[in-house]
């Protein structure tokens, strides 16, 4: 498929996906919806830390404010994980069972790849809105309202460190999203639990709310092969919350794990597509 056609298809898929995602309500409510969930999640963990600080445990006072900043950034960027996992897990179900357009997309010239990527990018856009708003509101709440003086200055982020990490991380997440699409195209009803399950695993293992060294020793190796672990590390380094000396190493591992994930994602998707075609699942309506 020519590159121009690929981009065109992906762009149209993105446009349709954005229309579906955003046209259920007015823009203000939509933006509110994008911020409320990630902010609430953040407040849960933030208050845990604040309560820990107030109970005067063995850690120093500076530890908690540093930890809060570390947590806020991790939790904010976890919105990408949540949006992409949930959005891409449900994608096949929505287009196959609800709108019944998957078969028409499939038999049109080209492949399903630009369609999946386009729709995945909608989740990325949703995630971006969530990330930005969560960061802004977090600083406003913790520094502005509650006066915790957390060491987080959004204007001092190193964008040259941030952007490569975000780009690579998103590619890795989209590749994992591909795998979810692959599973849902050949299964029945997994879509409702798959997104939550996978994002839940990343929440536990990805260093979102605690460093991966806090995990049992037996499980830590799993964290070391997940793109999200290096994604969040690199991002925290760009915000100056971790020593920047590790940045290139984390970026390198992020690139490596992303490449592997992309290869796995595309391979799995192709296999699933063939199997779905063989078993007549492309236009199957799953019912409960």
């Amino acid at each position: 498929m020519a590159v121009a056609d690929f981009i065109k298809s992906a762009r149209e898929s993105f446009r349709v996906g954005w229309k579906i995602e955003s046209n259920w309500t007015d823009p203000v409510l939509f933006a509110t919806y994008q911020i409320v969930r990630p902010l609430a999640s953040l407040l849960i963990v933030a208050f845990i830390v604040i309560i820990g600080a107030s109970l005067g445990t063995s850690a120093s006072a500076g530890f908690y404010s540093q930890y809060l900043a570390w947590l806020i950034v991790g939790n904010a960027f976890y919105a990408y994980v949540l949006q992409v996992m949930l959005g891409m897990a449900i994608l096949v179900h929505v287009d196959r069972t609800e709108y019944e357009v998957l078969k028409n997309i499939y038999i049109s010239p080209g492949t399903l790849h630009p369609y999946v990527i386009g729709r995945g990018l909608v989740s990325v856009l949703n995630g971006t809105v969530s990330v930005i708003l969560t960061l802004i509101f977090s600083v406003l709440i913790f520094n502005g309202l509650l006066h915790y003086n957390i060491p987080l200055n959004l204007l001092q982020v190193n964008v040259f460190m941030l952007f490569p990490a975000v780009i690579l991380g998103i590619i890795g997440l989209l590749a994992i999203g591909y795998m979810l699409c692959a599973v849902t195209i050949v299964s029945n009803r997994m879509e409702f639990v798959l997104g939550d399950s996978v994002s839940g695993i990343f929440f536990l293992l990805g260093g979102v709310i605690f460093p991966v060294t806090g995990l049992p020793t037996l499980i830590q190796p799993i964290s070391r092969v997940l793109p999200i672990t290096y994604f969040l590390n690199a991002i925290r380094e760009s915000f100056g919350l971790l020593p920047t000396g590790q940045y290139l190493s984390d970026l390198g591992f992020l690139a490596l794990t992303t490449v592997v994930t992309v290869a796995l994602g595309i391979g799995l998707f192709r296999l699933a597509e063939q199997r779905a075609r063989k078993l007549g699942l492309i236009d199957r309506k799953s019912e409960y």
Binding site: Y99, V193, L204
Partner: protein, 274 residues
């Protein structure tokens, strides 16, 4: 139809709807694994966070109970409140509306089925949580704990019935609204940290949180199961939960009737894929 016949019909309908919920949910084994496994993942993350910042081991027990209760809230949101939305999308709502049964009877059946299902899962979550994370419990008054638990469930599902009436007319807003009510309620109710009687939490927040039955029930169960309290420590909670149910039930009925009437006037009851 006499009053007795009407009552029998409604009870039969409630039983049948409960039966459908129980049968349907337990036919998908993968669902069972995920409904227990997924909360364990989240609980695990919070327990490790507590340990990372050096909080007491009892905090882990609080998280496990919170995680189990979260399963009920999720069930109330998705399998109660949003249920009319799902029934409408699958073409079943018309069937219910044309049948000579009370909507409350159908919702009661959903509530009973949902709470039974979730209770089984909640027990699994607690047992697994205790086994994996080795957290201590001090349950001296199991009957009070069970009583408070039943009251909490009754209040929660009555709230779910009220939401169900609102969701009757929703299109995709139902899905998004249910999504929206997850994390904020986990936060306000202190599912993963004690939200009330904690000085650090602003009073306004505590007051708001206390309006949610789950907050009150969670706090009461934690006092009984973790801190070894008895019924005298939770009598205020019991009164609050009874009051919740007493207020919410007639509200739910009124709301349901009103929304159904509105839907019939505007022709929105059977509109799909909005």
């Amino acid at each position: 139809m006499t009053t007795r016949e009407e009552l029998v019909t409604n009870l039969r309908a409630a039983y049948a709807r409960m039966w459908v919920r129980l049968k349907g949910s337990n036919r998908e084994v993968t669902g069972l694994i995920v409904e227990i496994g997924l909360p364990i993942l989240t609980i695990g993350a919070y327990v490790i966070l507590y340990r990372t910042i050096g909080l007491s081991i009892q905090a882990g027990a609080a998280v496990i109970i919170g995680g189990a209760m979260v399963a009920f809230w999720t069930n109330v949101l998705w399998n109660m409140s949003a249920q009319w939305f799902w029934e409408r999308e699958s073409g079943n709502l018309e069937m219910y509306l044309v049948a000579p049964v009370s909507r409350m009877a159908v919702l009661l059946g959903m509530a009973m089925g949902g709470s039974l299902n979730t209770a089984m899962r909640a027990v699994g979550i607690v047992l697994l949580g205790v086994f994996i994370f080795q957290v201590p419990f001090q349950l001296h008054d199991p009957f009070s704990a069970a009583f408070v638990f039943v009251l909490t469930i009754a209040a929660l599902y009555t709230l779910g019935m009220m939401f169900a009436s609102l969701f009757m007319l929703y299109g995709r807003e139902a899905y998004h609204t249910a999504n929206l009510l997850q994390e904020p309620v986990y936060f306000l109710s202190g599912a993963y940290f004690p939200a009330i009687y904690t000085p650090i939490v602003p009073f306004a927040l505590q007051a708001t949180a206390s309006l949610i039955p789950m907050t009150i029930g969670l706090d009461a169960i934690r006092r009984l199961a973790i801190y070894g309290g008895d019924i005298t420590t939770v009598w205020l909670h019991i009164l609050a939960l009874i009051a919740c149910t007493a207020i919410l039930f007639p509200l739910a009925k009124r709301s349901l009737n009103y929304m159904e009437s509105l839907g019939k006037k505007e022709g929105r009851l059977t509109l799909r894929w909005q």
